[in-house]
């Protein structure tokens, strides 16, 4: 038995049963836990003169903590969790009121044997609009509370020469040691990390819309598919959803790191392709695409007016790893038919499940309360499973599969509707996502006091290699210019074989004019 806290707490021998669970912050009651997660510290939000909490497993291991704040020793926690694998971790809260001990209903957390990856990375950023100065890319050890900033914007932001660093995305949960992130403006460029080596490349070419935005590393090849986007933000005058992030132009490109070549995958005017992702075997590329016919003179004004009728479907293209060429597009999930819009598809490591967010419209679902995570069984292609245990009335969106495919890391605004927090949900072999657990913090008050969002989180099997200083230095250097090398399609698409059968003459002309 392990006992913590200065006042040597003892579990009361007699207590009145209250018949309800205690109010605690954060409340992870019922969430399924991995065997290697950091302690789930919490604060008891009940009246009382004294507090005692017992965490225990069926094997007889237990931790007893005194006080309102339950701060659990990391080593003892892991010992307790190990004893509860395949079974349940129980939490009993006792409070002393008017000289009498009271016992709240026992809370139960199933503990499974499937581990989570030891690290995650995310961007810490205020839920901002146009300004973004104070942002950092952070690595978190999931087994304790260690957090390391491996890139901070502030040292590079002087005299208005700032930049925005985008999501840090690894190849195969970092198993290859490769990852990348993109910076815009002052020291702009895409930074590629390979172990401790760093390079910086300018992916913007005269023939593409922008530099790479949303990346998808091929699982084995040194190849990344990016969306290239002309993105804008527009603001609601009243709606508490506050912002719409709209792509006024959007295509896909392929970047071959070994040859420093950019190729176009889609170059369509009325179709807005984005958020690419690979199947684990590297033979299929999934992405989302919406179709919109220009109804006025300006696409910006047009989409600002019609943003609620922009529906994204999920498409796929076969990829030949020997020729590096892509086949024609096929529809995988018709969200539009449901009056919905899909975004950020991700295929599970076993290739069976497609996980994506589904909302009423658009693709930037972090600002959409209607956004929920769904799964599609790629084998049966049944209707998507809405994963009720996972979702909330607020936005549930950006997600990542752990390397063993059993854990989903995702973003949710369920606490307050505005500040994104990270949750972990166990995904069992039957395709069911369990009640998620909030990313643990040492201080239970942390999220309440923190005015930053956790953004674009990804699992990592190992730490990010380079030091912050080396990354800063790399960003300060001039970027190597990528070469444009034409289309990545096996067969150039005509009007009849174009991706969504909707490419207009004008767009068709544009595709080849620029090649």
């Amino acid at each position: 038995m392990m006992v913590m806290a200065a006042c040597s707490p003892a579990v009361p021998e007699e207590a009145t049963e209250l018949g309800r669970t205690a109010r605690i912050l954060p409340d992870n009651g019922g969430a399924t836990l991995p065997p290697n997660i950091a302690p789930l510290n919490f604060e008891i939000q009940e009246e009382g003169e004294k507090f005692v909490t017992r965490l225990s497993s069926r094997s007889g291991e237990e931790i007893v903590v005194g006080g309102r704040t339950v701060d659990i020793d990391v080593d003892e926690w892991h010992q307790l969790l190990a004893s509860a694998v395949g079974d349940t971790l129980w939490t009993d809260v006792y409070t002393l009121q008017h000289g009498e001990w009271q016992h709240f209903e026992r809370m139960a957390n199933p503990v499974v044997g499937d581990s989570i990856d030891p690290y995650i990375t995310y961007r810490l950023i205020r839920p901002s609009y146009v300004n973004y100065e104070e942002l950092s890319l952070v690595e978190r050890n999931m087994q304790n509370f260690d957090e390391r900033t491996f890139y901070s914007n502030m040292p590079l932001s002087q005299d208005g020469n700032g930049q925005c660093a985008n999501c840090h995305v690894p190849q195969r949960q970092g198993q290859s040691g490769r990852s990348q992130f993109h910076a815009r403006q002052a020291f702009g460029g895409t930074v590629f990390i390979n172990g401790k080596d760093i390079s910086k490349v300018n992916l913007k070419t005269d023939s593409t819309l922008s530099a790479g935005v949303y990346p998808a590393w091929h699982p084995t090849l040194n190849l990344i598919v990016y969306s290239v986007n002309e993105t804008g933000q527009v603001f609601h005058t009243l709606d508490p959803q506050k912002i719409e992030v709209i792509d006024y132009g959007s295509d896909l490109i392929v970047y071959d790191l070994d040859n420093n070549e950019v190729r176009s995958l889609t170059r369509t005017g009325n179709d807005y392709e984005s958020f690419p992702t690979w199947s684990p075997d590297g033979k299929t590329l999934y992405y989302i695409s919406a179709h919109h016919e220009l109804q006025g003179e300006s696409i910006d004004a047009d989409l600002d007016q019609n943003y609620q009728s922009l529906y994204y479907n999920i498409y796929a293209r076969d990829f030949d790893p020997t020729t590096y060429r892509f086949g024609p597009a096929r529809l995988v999930f018709d969200a539009e038919a449901l009056g919905k819009s899909a975004s950020t598809p991700r295929v599970s490591p076993d290739g069976r499940w497609l996980l994506f967010s589904l909302a009423d419209y658009g693709q930037f679902h972090i600002w959409h309360r209607s956004a929920d995570l769904c799964t599609l069984n790629l084998g049966t292609a049944d209707a998507p499973d809405e994963q009720g245990d996972l979702n909330s009335p607020e936005s549930d969106s950006y997600h990542s599969w752990s390397s063993n495919g059993r854990w989903i890391l995702f973003s949710s605004r369920r606490i307050d509707g505005n500040y994104t927090r990270l949750y972990l949900s166990y995904f069992d072999s039957k395709g069911h996502a369990h009640r998620p657990v909030l990313l643990p913090q040492r201080r239970p008050q942390h999220y309440g006091e923190l005015f930053r969002s956790f953004n674009a989180a990804e699992w990592m099997t190992c730490p990010v290699g380079p030091s912050p200083r080396n990354l800063e230095d790399a960003l300060r250097r001039d970027a190597r210019q990528a070469r444009y090398a034409g289309s990545a399609l096996a067969t150039p698409e005509t009007e009849e074989t174009a991706p969504e059968q909707r490419i207009t003459k004008q767009n068709f002309h544009n595709i080849y004019e620029n090649d």
Binding site: Y132, F235, T237, E244, N418, F451
Partner: protein
């Protein structure tokens, strides 16, 4: 001791007098613009932000104390006086030369009072607050090291009459320098005072300050005055009678000052809640967790019914140094703002042009609550877009129980005239307004070209909508 006392008293009087007197609005604003929370996360973030994290944290704490001017100014003055005394102690200077010990305190104080508009752009504590405590500590440490090396009687050898004279002259010169370089721009201080009154919903005070200001106003002052006129239901009678202007902000830095200083406040009170929240958040990202921004974010979250978000901001405000419960104020504000939110949400952008956006937005609005229709009417008059005048005027007519406000009467006569002399005899327009309008038409015909008209007609008609419509042109809206 007696020789030191006059310097000490004089410095105290000067510092305290200037800060608590003319600069009081500046002091208060500095306090409310200082991001300082008593939370663990804020402490850690400040420490992690730079190598001087702890110094910055102390500086922010000291600066935040200015939100209670008596406390903050007393603290600052005490610390500056301490620096003078510590200097004397370190160098074992004779009292004859004590005046020289005030050079640094005056320079430090001036470094704060010179800042002016740039307090809005400061991303950390101002120099005075980040310097004063470490300097004091350094002096005390130096004193411990150096004092044993000095020989006391050497100091006494320098006690001459010239010492007194030089000492007094240097002290006086520093006092003069401090006063001369202190930023005392009347519009700036007036803006701050108007803004602070508006933040407490003291609209009569805003109008009083507007009237008291003798300088040509900036657009921000005009906007605050117009908001106060709207809030006090005097817009229809007084708006074109109050002083208009587009004086430049007296600072070499060309920033959108109206946006930076006034956007959250103006948007909030005019019911453009998304934009109020947006600019408060943008600036929070840029300049830190300033209490002023948190207040706007809290108010908008509350208005939106975002309970948990409201609680988050309320908790943050409770962790500022001087939390004031504004529950009654906020409830009253919400009641007043509610009618202005009776419109369909839309996606929009203002490009930072707050006044222009508000004017155009209301001028182009159709329908809505009574308050919205009146603002639409007024904004269409201000922007001289008269196409929708009659529907709005007629919709409001039954609601003017105490008579049609003067400017709307003036506009009705003028619009009728411009539209070919439509019959206005049935409209409730006072005889006085009708006679004035007749005089205007006669004078206008008599005087000829418009430039002459503007000059000649101003004394008699300068407070009318007619004068504004015909002669006020090219006014900036930023």
């Amino acid at each position: 001791m007696l020789r030191r006392l006059p310097y000490t008293l004089l410095f105290g009087i000067i510092a305290f007098g200037v800060m608590m007197g003319q600069l009081r609005p500046y002091i208060v604003e500095t306090g409310h613009l200082t991001p300082f929370l008593t939370t663990t996360v804020f402490f850690r973030e400040t420490l992690d932000a730079s190598a001087l994290g702890l110094v910055n944290y102390m500086g922010l704490f000291l600066q935040a104390c200015l939100a209670k001017p008596w406390l903050g100014v007393s603290l600052v003055t005490f610390l500056l006086v301490s620096i003078a005394y510590a200097t004397r102690w370190v160098v074992r200077i004779s009292d004859v030369w004590f005046g020289l010990c005030w050079i640094v305190p005056f320079l430090l104080l001036a470094s704060y009072t010179q800042v002016g508009y740039d307090i809005y752009l400061s991303k950390g504590p101002l120099r005075l607050f980040v310097t004063v405590v470490p300097l004091l500590v350094i002096l005390l440490l130096l004193g411990c090291l150096l004092r044993p090396l000095w020989k006391k009687k050497e100091g006494r050898l320098l006690e001459t009459r010239w010492g007194y004279i030089v000492s007094v002259v240097v002290f006086a010169a520093m006092g003069y320098y401090f006063w001369q370089t202190t930023y005392k721009d009347k519009n700036f201080l007036n803006i701050l005072e108007m803004k602070q009154a508006a933040e407490h919903d003291d609209w009569q005070r805003v109008l009083t300050l507007s009237r008291e200001n003798e300088a040509v106003p900036t657009r921000l002052q005009v906007c605050l005055t117009r908001l106060a006129l709207y809030k006090t239901h005097q817009m229809g009678d007084q708006l074109f009678a109050t002083r208009d202007g587009d004086a430049a902000y007296n600072t070499p830095k060309q920033h959108p000052w109206l946006r930076i200083i006034g956007a959250p406040l103006l948007y909030y009170h005019y019911g453009k809640l998304g934009f109020a929240y947006r600019w408060a958040m943008e600036d929070l990202v840029e300049y830190g967790m300033r209490p002023n921004y948190l207040r706007t974010l809290h108010r908008v979250a509350r208005f939106n019914g975002e309970k948990e978000l409201e609680r988050k901001y309320a908790d943050a405000l409770r962790h500022t140094l001087f939390y004031e419960d504004e529950e009654t104020l906020i409830a009253q504000e919400a009641k007043e703002i509610m009618p202005l939110t009776n419109y369909t949400d839309m996606l929009d952008g203002d490009d930072g042009l707050v006044e222009f956006y508000l004017l155009q937005s209301f001028a182009l609005t159709e329908g809505g609550s009574r308050e919205m229709v009146e603002l639409s009417l007024m904004c269409s008059l201000i922007t001289k877009q008269l196409e929708g005048f009659w529907p709005r005027f007629m919709a409001l007519l039954p609601t003017w129980k105490d008579g049609v406000p003067r400017h709307y009467q003036e506009a009705a006569l003028m619009v009728a005239q411009l539209q070919g002399g439509a019959d206005t005899s049935q409209l409730p327009i006072s005889e006085e307004v009708r006679q004035r309008f007749s005089r205007l038409v006669e004078a206008s015909a008599r005087l000829g070209d418009s430039a002459n008209n503007a000059y000649s007609l101003r004394p008699e008609f300068g407070d009318t909508y007619w004068y504004y419509y015909f002669f006020v042109e090219g006014m900036k809206t930023y």
